[in-house]
């Protein structure tokens, strides 16, 4: 999952930092199938590409290969997700196709009070996400 780096200045400007501390919560996750890949900005790009390639190719004799994989990217990682999908396509000599979907993910920011008298607050922030389906087509 991408590091959800929003420009902090916007949030902090509205709040008194003396009274609240901002804590970002993890995005809501759905259970993962084996062919779901969440792209992040921390792991090496090549490693993530290789992982996708491996999933598509399967084992030594082509067993356990997935006919389609889903690459998810959130926020900053959207670029990278697209990049991975395109690289996969380019390296497949036309046997792979991509289909992209975009969505909006609601993220929760927790505001922890610094004084006893205040209640903790939560805010919802939206972030864009991309879900790319990479699938095999029969070569003609």
């Amino acid at each position: 999952m991408a590091e959800n780096r929003e420009p902090r200045g916007a949030v902090e400007a509205e709040l008194d930092p003396v009274e609240y501390t901002l804590r970002k919560r993890l995005p809501h996750r759905l259970p993962r199938r084996p062919n779901d890949i969440y792209v992040n900005m921390k792991t090496d790009f090549k490693a993530q590409l290789a992982r996708c390639q491996k999933l598509l190719d399967g084992g030594a004799r082509g067993q356990n290969s997935c006919s389609e994989i889903y690459i998810h990217g959130l926020g900053l990682a959207i670029n990278r997700a697209i990049n991975i999908a395109l690289q996969l396509q380019a390296g497949s000599f036309g046997s792979l196709q991509v289909a992209a979907n975009t969505s909006t993910v609601e993220l929760v920011d927790e505001l922890e009070p610094e004084t006893d008298a205040r209640e903790p607050l939560t805010r919802i922030r939206n972030n864009s996400a991309i879900h790319i389906r990479v699938f095999r087509v029969a070569p003609k």
Binding site: E3, P7, T21, H28, R29, R118, E119, P120, I124
Partner: protein
């Protein structure tokens, strides 16, 4: 006969007793005295008989004439026999002394008979301490002779038989006086277990743990330290991807009951808003959330820390009664309990103990058992006794539930007349299990099912049924609707994939059915159910707002109900019997109204909350339920695929969360000091067990304190160091350029000679110090004037750890590197905090002259740090080389000289001399033994610094900043990570002098290595 032969014989006979001598063949005529049984000497030479003897002998001969002949005959025959064997001969000197003329037959025969019987006895009775077959010569021994008598020669069999019987008999006496089968019988086993848990408290899962874990006795409990299987990595994976289960029932719970204002008023001096939220935080006070707080001695913040605790307020069911009696549970580590309980009692003025019968049902339960236990061993245990015993104790022996070590007469609750607050100690009255990891939701929702609402049929007496409290509850429609709402929320949890998504510290109360009933037939692994994961409005609301306040209500707060639930538990045996009676094997067991209803409390534990990466790692749920139900909840969780961790895993958990471990990482609280001392002792023992050549020589490596960290001394030295620095730098500008020249001037500021000068004055101010060990090491360099000591007295010289959130935030921005994170740099430049200037730090330093800061360190390149590693300040040259060489690992510490080596050698020699002297004159030993220790020589250990430590900061080539308390290769980060404390003064000094690009870089050195490695320091709030 040659002279040489005679001499040889004399040599041979030297050690023989004078009256019995073995003669060899050549001394046939030399003869020796033979002592006969009658006390007279008789002589074989018959020829001498006719010669006149003494008058007395003649008289005896006269009186007893007749029996002479047989005697003589016998004598002659014996003489022949002896002669044949080259045997006994009368010596010539005996001949001259007394020669019996005749011998009385009866007395002589009596004497012989006694002799013969003695000899026979000696033959049959072996004198040596060995077994019969051991006396056999080696070539006659056979395998398994000790087991099989028939392998022995026939003449020895009888003796061996006797021996074997004796051995069996002896063994029986040593053993448990019962056969294996009897010992395994349930009743005896329970008795035995009850006896064994009198000294150390057993958790309810003890037997389960003891089969699978390395057990340790710690803090008065028997706890599983680590699994016997190799599972370090597996436990990490369980925490990250699956679920790790821990039994935290050893945590202590203190209950405060009373008016809200009174409790808050009493507790407010013990915590400070400066160090985080207190007991009065709004969301905690309502009972919606668990809070955590750092406790100090009343009004002593920031010094005299007592320890970190978590607390839960009981939620009010109706918000109108605010001033009504409220309940507060404080959960704490058992090591902190003694101090905190005393302080709480003092703060609430609770002095009057309440009779334990009123508040805690636990001791009552144990008293009857203890009686039956103590009766048993006093009396003889035979068959008769056993039967009688069975008759007496017709009712089955009860297992100890809860605290088996507690003295029933010791009060466990106290009341205050002035404030009306009741403090009770609820230790071991509840079980606490912790589930860590994303699968904990699935496991919880799979294993636990909310209790079914029970309706009463007409004419049934509710008082008599075991679970009448639940029936009573179900009569109230409000309670039923609350129960349904709680159930709905609990079911929603199953659709949330990680506990980190829920607001931290959320509390959910629930009443569940017996978890043993829907136990899967085999151990399996649950997987999150995708069908449940529907993204609907309810889930969203739960994630945003958490559990509503009224759903936090649970019957576990009610002592009477808890007691009822504990007592009315259906035993496993009963449950299994009913299960076997089912018509279709394996079908669902329906107990109906007899099924127990257990009130539980679920508390969300936030995972990693500080820092930027891996947020929410290690989050999970704690589940509280009444005592007695430990195994009933434990097994269902394991059958759903939870992996169990021990103490080691909880240390790993806190390390990867980068949170301080209790009590090891609280050097300013008494429990932390005790812990450090114990650890140092263990490490020292371990170190001494190795031969000197096979262990690191810490003196040569320049490691002064490899086993314990001298925090006090470190903080003090840094304080004096900076003060000494300031004096010359007042005139010049406090910029970073001249720092190196300044540092070069005082690499050896405190010298050991100064120690003694100031120890007296320092000692008086430190007499109230909680660390007597470190008070010894107090030293103030001579440069610092007396007025400094005086002002130090005023501020209080005790060590403290910086826990003020405001300052920690400030520090964390100062520490942050400006080059790595662009956004952080922009922020830093925007807010105008490029570097900590002296002016900015001054208020902080004035308030906390001797403070430590909790920091986390991430290694830049290679290396995995160890506990007690040293955190040092890099020099300008190190940075230069780091910039030039991408692969530069770090500088090396040069070898130090060992000033103790010659002393140790001298001591050894002295010891040798002493030993020799002792050998010669053992009487002198006392005088000598008192000598050397009195001269002031403790036993020196090769490779360890002895005596008071010299200046710790400037002992090595790089200036010491602090120590690592936890450090390892972190599987979460994929590199070395360490946590530790540094001196606040030192940290600020270092940060102010470092260039912006390399700010926050330090050097780490393991105690047994000369290699320094680069690490980045970070203060996380």
């Amino acid at each position: 006969m040659s002279n040489a032969k005679e001499r040889k014989h004399a040599k041979k006979m030297r050690n023989q007793p004078t009256n019995v001598t073995l003669s060899s063949g050549f001394v046939a005529d030399r003869g020796t005295k033979y002592h006969n049984g009658g006390g007279r000497h008789f002589h074989q030479a018959q020829k001498q008989e006719p010669f006149p003897g003494t008058s007395r002998q003649r008289q005896t001969k006269m009186t007893h004439h007749s029996p002479v002949d047989p005697d003589v005959k016998e004598q002659s025959s014996s003489k022949i026999m002896f002669k044949k064997k080259g045997g006994w001969k009368a010596g010539p000197e005996g001949m001259s002394q007394e020669i019996p003329k005749y011998i009385t037959a009866s007395t002589f025969a009596q004497a012989r008979a006694a002799e013969i019987s003695a000899m026979l006895k000696a033959v049959t009775q072996k004198s040596s301490n060995s077994l019969v077959f051991q006396t056999l010569p080696r070539h006659m021994r056979r395998r398994a002779m000790s087991h099989n008598v028939k392998r022995l020669p026939r003449r020895l069999r009888e003796i061996a038989q006797k021996e074997a019987e004796k051995a069996v008999h002896q063994k029986k006496e040593h053993s448990k006086n019962k056969c294996h089968k009897a010992r395994r019988c349930h009743k005896n086993r329970v008795l035995e277990f009850n006896r064994r848990q009198k000294k150390n408290i057993w958790l309810e899962t003890h037997i389960w743990h003891a089969k699978r874990f390395h057990m340790v006795k710690k803090w008065g409990y028997c706890l599983g330290e680590r699994p016997t299987v190799k599972s370090h990595r597996a436990c990490y994976r369980a925490m990250t991807n699956r679920c790790l289960l821990q039994d935290l029932s050893y945590y202590c719970c203190l209950e405060l009951k009373g008016k809200e204002e009174e409790i808050l008023k009493a507790l407010s001096p013990m915590c400070s808003i400066d160090a985080g939220l207190t007991f009065a935080a709004v969301h905690c006070l309502s009972g919606k959330c668990q809070g955590s707080v750092l406790l100090y001695r009343a009004n002593r913040y920031p010094r005299e820390m007592l320890g970190p605790v978590t607390f839960i307020w009981k939620s009010e069911r109706t918000p109108s009664h605010t001033s009504e009696s409220r309940q507060l549970w404080i959960w704490l580590h058992p090591m902190l309990k003694q101090d905190i309980l005393e302080e709480l009692k003092a703060a609430c003025q609770c002095v009057e103990p309440i009779k334990p019968t009123i508040c805690t049902p636990g001791p009552l339960l144990t008293t009857s058992e203890e009686k039956s236990q103590t009766e048993l061993p006093d009396e003889k245990i035979g068959k008769k006794r056993k039967r009688k015993d069975d008759g007496e104790n017709a009712k089955p022996v009860k297992k100890v539930i809860g605290d088996g070590t507690r003295d029933p007469h010791q009060p466990s609750s106290w009341i205050s007349a002035a404030t009306g607050i009741i403090i009770s100690d609820l230790t071991m009255e509840m079980n606490r299990l912790r589930l860590i990891g994303p699968l904990s939701h699935s496991i919880l929702t799979e294993a636990l099912k909310a209790a079914s609402v029970q309706t009463v049929r007409e004419g049934e007496d509710t008082e008599k049924t075991p679970h009448h409290w639940w029936i009573e509850t179900c009569k109230n429609p409000d309670s039923v609707s609350l129960h349904h709402r709680q159930e709905a929320i609990f079911e929603l949890l199953g659709g949330i994939t990680s506990p980190a998504e829920i607001p931290s510290g959320t509390i959910l109360g629930l009443t569940v059915g017996d978890p043993r009933i829907n136990l899967p037939p085999k151990r399996s692994k649950v997987l999150p159910n995708p069908e449940k994961c529907q993204d609907n409005e309810k889930v969203r609301q739960l994630l945003l707002e958490g559990v509503p306040v009224d759903c936090a209500h649970s019957f576990i707060w009610n002592q009477a109900i808890c007691k009822n639930v504990t007592e009315n538990k259906i035993s496993d045996q009963d449950l299994n019997r009913r299960r076997s009676e089912l018509l279709v094997p394996g079908s669902q067991l329906v107990l109906g109204p007899q099924e127990s209803k257990i009130p539980i409390l679920l508390i969300q534990q936030p995972g990693k909350v500080t820092g930027d990466d891996r947020r929410g790692w290690g989050s999970g749920w704690d589940i509280l339920f009444p005592k007695g139900w430990g195994m009933a909840f434990w097994i269902p969780f394991i059958y759903r695929g939870a992996r169990v961790g021990g103490l080691k895993e909880s240390v790993m958990h806190s390390q990867y969360k980068r949170s301080p471990d209790i009590p090891g990482d609280f050097p300013d609280c008494p429990a932390g000091v005790v812990f450090a001392e114990e650890q140092a002792k263990n490490l020292l023992e371990k170190y001494k067990r190795r031969p000197p050549a096979k262990r690191p020589n810490y003196v040569k490596l320049g490691t002064l304190a490899p086993f314990c960290c001298p925090w006090e001394q470190l903080a003090q030295e840094w304080e004096s160091r900076v003060q000494a620095q300031e004096e010359p730098s007042v005139a010049s500008s406090p910029s970073g350029e001249d720092s190196d020249s300044r540092r070069d001037k005082l690499p050896c500021a405190p010298t050991p000679e100064n120690t003694d000068l100031w120890s007296d004055e320092g000692g008086t101010s430190l007499s109230s110090c909680s660390e007597p060990r470190e008070a010894m090491d107090t030293e103030c360099p001579a440069r610092v004037g007396t007025e400094w000591v005086a002002c130090q007295d005023a501020t209080g010289s005790l060590l403290c750890v910086l826990r003020s959130r405001k300052w920690l935030k400030q520090l964390s921005t100062w520490c942050g590197p400006s080059s790595r994170d662009k956004r952080a740099a922009r922020r830093a430049s925007g807010s105008g905090e490029p570097a900590p200037t002296r002016a900015a730090c001054l208020p902080l330093l004035e308030r906390f002259p001797r403070a430590l800061v909790w920091v986390s360190l991430a290694l830049l390149r290679k290396g995995s740090p160890e506990p007690h590693s040293m955190i040092c300040v890099p020099t300008e040259e190190d940075f230069l080389r780091l910039r030039q060489d991408q692969l530069y690992c770090g500088p090396q510490e040069s070898k130090h000289s060992d000033p103790f080596k010659s002393e140790i050698r001298k001591q050894k020699e002295r010891k040798k001399v002493e030993k020799r002297q002792n050998k010669q004159a053992p009487t002198e030993r006392e005088g000598l033994a008192g000598g050397p220790p009195a001269a002031g020589h403790q036993a020196l250990t090769l490779g360890l610094w002895s005596g008071p430590l010299p200046g710790v900061t400037s002992h090595c080539s790089r200036v010491l900043l602090g120590f690592v308390t936890q450090g390892d290769f972190s599987m979460a980060v994929g590199g070395g990570e360490a946590l530790g404390f540094v001196s606040l003064t030192g940290l600020l000094d270092m940060l102010s002098t470092q260039p912006a690009a390399e700010r926050g870089l330090v050097l780490l050195r393991a105690p047994a290595s000369p290699q320094y490695r680069f690490a980045r320091i970070a203060v996380e709030v």
